[in-house]
Symmetry: D3
Subunit: 135 residues, 6 copies
């Protein structure tokens, strides 16, 4: 289904993200990392090999850091004053989302629920993001 939508979508639609800025941003970057964290949590739960589990924790730490980074970039580089006026909850949303990828969230625990909560929060941000792109 999503494949179909991708095929049908015009190719030139971009997303922006580097701080030149190039003008390409996409919350998908944070989401992909968060999905990875969820995948890691699921595999961790079903594999008790200590070497595998150590690797899972090492990689989850990196992926959580990437989630934080991608979200911070959106918050600082993409969103501007008019956005914050229109969506006054944005600051807190980003602060909560990045905390949820930190020690009190997917860094500190390795359960699927933490990853799901993070994904839901990223989706809240993504929804606003895409609204601003349509405006």
């Amino acid at each position: 289904m999503r494949l179909l939508t991708r095929l049908l979508a015009p190719k030139a639609i971009a997303h922006a993200h580097c701080d030149l800025p190039c003008g390409v941003y996409d919350p998908a970057q944070a989401r992909i990392e968060a999905e990875s964290i969820k995948g890691i949590a699921e595999k961790y739960a079903s594999n008790e090999d200590p070497v595998f589990r150590a690797r899972a924790l090492i990689i989850k730490e990196q992926r959580s850091e990437l989630v934080k980074h991608h979200l911070w970039v959106l918050w600082t580089d993409y969103f501007k004053a008019p956005h914050f006026e229109k969506y006054p909850q944005l600051h807190q949303l980003f602060n909560e989302a990045t905390k949820m990828a930190g020690a009190s969230g997917t860094k500190g625990s390795i359960d699927v629920a933490s990853a799901d909560a993070l994904l839901a929060k990223i989706d809240e941000i993504a929804k606003i993001f895409w609204e601003t792109k349509q405006a």
Copy 2:
């Protein structure tokens, strides 16, 4: 349009990418960086300020490296022997794509055409990728 398709797409579809492996891969990671390169090339062409242009070259170098990295990860971590049997052109496709993000491509030049060529090549890979996900 793409926004619509995103809204309609089921949320659970993931993409995999870390070498735990978590099982989440998505050619979108390479594509987003390549779109950034295109955005940089466009802005470079229309801005002759030397400081801006130096920054554009610095950032384009990093983004090109990221494209290479994301493609290499797909080639080594996601694609397996049966895929290479079914798509014998895959090796060359990836070799060409990563070269197109290198010195003979978007690293070595700063024109929109190089970025477009890279994007087209990534789309060829993405098409195969999504076919294998549906199988």
Copy 3:
């Protein structure tokens, strides 16, 4: 003034920064990078050698990114809900400060004034930070 605050603070008060969290944070990390940016801008202004100037731009880009990173860490990892209640301007302060280390600030320009403005903003944050540590 900041030094005085430091002098008066018990030695064991550290500054915390890793997201274990270890409990050690210090706005000095962002400030040192910002001071470096100012030093770079000053040297750039008085040295027209193109190789030197190219290096200055490369390094300034990295240092600006480090300022952003250190500030993001403080905003997400150190500051908690009670702080944001007591200092409702904190979100905007951090958003402005990180923007001032980005394309519209020390990344996009190479003048001493941009660096000074960033330093002043970091000091505003540091003042609040040290107040919360004394509480």
Copy 4:
């Protein structure tokens, strides 16, 4: 044998590796990291201290990633169309080698055998590499 090849090679023949490109490449970069992985596996086997073992796994993960990176660089940046024509097995060789430094190889396991297998595969690549340098 490889050393002999090196001895016979004119001193100015360098090894190339950066994507300027500078023209300096050397499979030794991947080999040194793989030797490190072997050393780590040997020390891990003879030391049951959990802190030591955790460190070994952390570092082995990084070194395996470096092996993959150095090999990818050779495959994309050094080897050109004529090489792939003359050595049609090259693509598969690199794909296998990088997989052997990943989850199904030295990342996923911590035994000396995995490291030895990786080293042997790197030597296969190095043999071809030095042949192309002599041509």
Copy 5:
């Protein structure tokens, strides 16, 4: 004492650290990381959760590497021939300090004593550093 030195120093004396060089150096960068290591060791000792402990080891490894890096930068970039003449013990001091942040120190062990020893050594270096800044 160090704080006092800082207080007395003219405000414009910065601390230099990038190799442009920008002229801004500050041993505080190494010290903050070492304080973090101490905080990690303390928390590790009082928390037996294996996931927490794995994270502590992962992060301690990174922080120890940062200590080494910041000290190396001071040793190579800040200190010049006249300093080494006046303080002939400097080379050994830095060699010992960086070793104390390595395998035989805070990387290899997770006890508070190792972190304290490292902090004391950094303070020895910092004392000399600030003396040279006042000269």
Copy 6:
């Protein structure tokens, strides 16, 4: 000469470099990066395209940093007290070599002579290194 030393050395003598430590060190890591810097300087001299030259400066900065890093690792992690007693010039040799890869050397200038001087200094270190491995 160095090659000869290598030829004569038993194959199992590896080169050690990670701070587990794995016991694998090799000055070749620093030398390969320095050779790259030389290659970059040569290509820079014969190519006046401003985009090419900007890339050359960006990459040379990174390679110089890698030289410094690899040398620092040898100095701190490989060499021990008995080595420094036997080779009292080692500290200064490393301090000079890392400075030669910095602002006063291959970072600050882009001439072949700076790269040659760095290579010669690395070879001095390598000669001592291999002597200690044979002892």
